[in-house]
Symmetry: C2
Subunit: 268 residues, 2 copies
Amino acid sequence: MISHEQFSHVDTTPASQARERYRAGLIEPTAGVARGFTQANMIVLPRDWAFDFLLYAQRNPKACPVLDVSDAGSHTTALAKGADLRRDVPLYRIWRDGRLAEETPDASSAWAEHPDLVSFLIGCSFTFETPMSEAGIDIRHITDGSNVPMYLTNKPCRPAGRLHGNMVVSMRPIPADRVADAATISGRFPSVHGSPVHVGAPEAIGIADLSKPDFGDAVRIEPGEVPVFWACGVTPQAAVMASGVPFAITHAPGHMFITDIPDSAYHV
Amino acid sequence: MISHEQFSHVDTTPASQARERYRAGLIEPTAGVARGFTQANMIVLPRDWAFDFLLYAQRNPKACPVLDVSDAGSHTTALAKGADLRRDVPLYRIWRDGRLAEETPDASSAWAEHPDLVSFLIGCSFTFETPMSEAGIDIRHITDGSNVPMYLTNKPCRPAGRLHGNMVVSMRPIPADRVADAATISGRFPSVHGSPVHVGAPEAIGIADLSKPDFGDAVRIEPGEVPVFWACGVTPQAAVMASGVPFAITHAPGHMFITDIPDSAYHV
């Protein structure tokens, strides 16, 4: 179990300063922010739903690699010193009966509705973007200053208890001669989605039009580039919708929780 | 999520025949049996304890890497076609109020006491023994035809809910000039305990005498060899004891459940 205590020798100022900006109300996608520190997807559920979700994550580890689970009622995490999970994400989504009820930069009041919330932090593919970039692979959405494009696929996840839904993927256009490198590099980070789940042929996973992502922003695809798809930590939100979960708090896609953990901690 | 359905092209006869022998009553340690097929530790708990255990596993992934979780009340697994988790392990342990109540080759009657049992299959370090052996590293307990030695350490696991306890480790003596190779090779299998947690200095983790393992058999240590310790899937049994869990069924140490999944499926 990785914890921020192991990295007390690391200067985590960029991560804690980013959290402070978001706590103060700044709203922005976090791609490229506090480069080198692990970002995480979040889903927060009442204790009664926690086992179903943890099982869903275990059965769908490419999409839902769990990095930390907080104790019921807690709003702290082992992954970031002094963090407040209710306020340190730039933008939250509040879900009621499987529907998006609200987006807010501060989830404190929704959080207060349930005394027994369990928070799950889930790996994010942003973690392997730095090593891919260092290997000379352009990360298009960072270069172009936009949010990563994400798509709801037709690939069902393995259900668990009351939870079911399809996989969400993120997409990066990769030059055909670097696809193997992108697969190899990301594969070395299995706890943050790992290697791609699909390369090319978007129609085979139910994506009709790459220019119309279900979440995030569309990105340029240059000639000779292939769309490469990674399992995405927005998958839990698809399950919330498909399963009609009564109450959940999540991050808004692309607006991640920034931890104190160096990306390299998840390298195998 | 790995499932036996992905390996329908693989001849799994050695695995299914081993399970049939154990179902018929054969009792033996499984090291070296059905070589090339993944073996698993097992713990079975009532539904009321399942979330605590899944969280314990998530917080202690080196010791408790979860490969499959069955639905409550089921005695099948996605990892082996036609398997019966109540009978296909060569030797079971029945635990009551944190104490070992019985060892039996057939857990059916104990299983029938609870209608809502949830079964967890957990990775086993036997998985990386084949590639270590292929790299020319002698696996002493296989060479000598004994069970692997396991030790209860003084290293506490991160608790979860009602569960706490110390880590159990398995030990293999490795020539000093191959320790790095053993670490590298096992590190490529993070979901079956991965790289060693400790190399040399057994006293630093509370092991006073290597010739007196807490589970399994002592093994020869030759001059120039270093004891190398890997996190072990008997750790849940230490938690059952330390936490006074009212009811649990586990495998007996070294007597594993043999799946249909090729070891290579867990290679990253």
